[in-house]
Amino acid sequence: MARPSKLMSEVEAVSTIENGMTLGIGGWGSRRKPMSLVRALLRTDVKDLTVVSYGGPDVGLLCAAGKVRRLVYGFVSLDSIALEPHFRSARQAGTIAEPIEYDEGMLQWALYAGSLRLPFLPTRAGLGSGVMDVNSELRTVRSPYDDGEELLAVPAIRLDAAFVHLNRSDERGNAQFLGPDLYFDDLFLAACEPGRRFVSAEKIVPTADLLKEGSFHTLKINRSMVDGVIAAPNGAHFTTCEPDYGRDEAFQKAYVDAARDDESWRAFTARFLASDEAGYQRAVAEWRAERKEDKK
């Protein structure tokens, strides 16, 4: 008997997200971000989220929409443009009620501990730094062995929901990364309670085709880690999704320019983010065509 497909739309996926939930978002900076899911979430009334991310425009957009109450991050950056404008504004205006700033490696450890159902994992990363000064809840632990070293006990993070974007997936959530780095997408899924673990993919393929484009080493996400699968061609736009496409640098720059003031941001939102994902993709295509026309 054929097993049921987990295919669903972005709208169906984000309709499961509730106020106050903890949401983990995969990718890294402006690289392979599940942007179509983030865009769908922007169009909901959900608020007071705790967002956990190696942050890029996902964090920026959710901050700009006023949906973030707590943010767990090591950085927020657009990579080729170092600073994320909305995240900056939100931090400088003090509108993120509880920022939790970790070392990048601490964030990995928090997710890994969460995925293994451990209360914490020990590390040296963070000790002696400002991370200890601004996160008063952090505790240290002493090695029970002869060395007796005092280490930072990074508390586990468990997620209520997780969004990641992969290159390929079958209908049941066996998913594949074809680019240079998985980032920590597997940990975001593994640290998440079953029920709201969502994988969007550039292309949905038959299970039998999964090894046609990459070796078995690229199959790091299996269906037991996934509850919903979303077909999302160009879904990471404007971030990278190698080898399917690179970053849309011109659009990323337009995004940053639009964040300059309220008026231009309202115009950007009205043009690109007001309708659904298909509307977004159409608006981007039109924007590209206009630019080509201007260049002639």
Partner: protein, 249 residues
């Protein structure tokens, strides 16, 4: 032809990795990346250098070049593993640095509600207590070289000493390269010391652009120019002269 400032600085960056052997030489930004690749191309051939994305590359990959001879895979997870294992020497930027090498790339002003939010601490805390760390600062000025940084994203010698044990023993801030000078922490109490000044720069120039007192020992030498081999390697690695954009003469 006289040597350009950018070439002197490239060599000063490369020298940070001298003697490091077969470890990951990681450079954040154009000049540190040029430094790492220059060191590997000349006097430190065993170094591993990356393309800045996820691959170790052999040969002289030009900055921004795409024709890569891949010799290994180094995704972010393995970067963390490598640096926590101490098999890496990174050169990063810093928006603020103090006399003990505490650095800040996170924010300016109070952390709770900063005047200017920058990147966040990124990997700075883990880097500075796990592997050798150097810094490249393109504009040496008192607003960067400060009495006290606003947020400690990179751990300096005073804080490392307070932690004691493994971290205090292994803590290794190697050098700071700027547009004026090379500095390090090889002084009593690990206070920042002038190692050399770039051609045309005086010790007084460096001190007057530094917001705390620097350690000066005897006659401070001039930063060295590239050798003929190094000059040729610089041209191969940065044929488009991106280094001059960071450091105009």
């Amino acid at each position: 032809m006289s040597t350009s400032l950018a070439d002197v600085v490239a060599v000063a960056c490369a020298d940070a990795w001298r003697g490091d052997g077969e470890i990951f030489a990681s450079g954040m930004g154009v000049m540190p990346m040029l430094g790492a690749r220059l060191a590997r191309a000349t006097f430190e051939p065993d170094l591993m250098v990356s393309d800045g994305e996820a691959f170790f590359v052999a040969g002289d990959l030009p900055i921004g070049g795409t024709d890569k001879l891949v010799e290994g895979w180094i995704p972010f997870r393995q970067v963390f593993d490598t640096l926590w294992g101490g098999r890496r020497h990174v050169m990063m930027g810093a928006s603020q640095i103090d006399r003990f090498g505490n650095t800040n790339i996170a924010n300016i002003g109070p952390w709770k509600q900063p005047k200017a939010q920058l990147l966040g601490v990124r990997g700075g805390p883990g880097n500075t207590v796990n592997n050798a760390t150097s810094f490249f600062i393109p504009k040496h000025q008192s607003s960067v070289f400060v009495e006290q940084v606003d947020m400690v994203s990179g751990v300096g010698y005073d804080r490392a000493e307070k932690l004691g044990g493994f971290i205090a023993r292994r803590h290794d801030l190697r050098r700071v390269v700027t547009n004026l000078a090379v500095l390090d922490f090889n002084s009593p109490g690990h206070r920042m010391r002038i190692v050399s000044v770039h051609p045309g720069v005086t010790v007084a120039d460096v001190q007057s652009n530094t917001g705390f007192e620097l350690v000066v020992e005897g006659d401070v030498p001039e930063s060295r120019p590239p050798t003929a081999d190094e000059a040729a390697a610089i041209e191969r690695i940065d044929p488009r002269g991106l280094r001059h954009r960071e450091l105009p003469a």
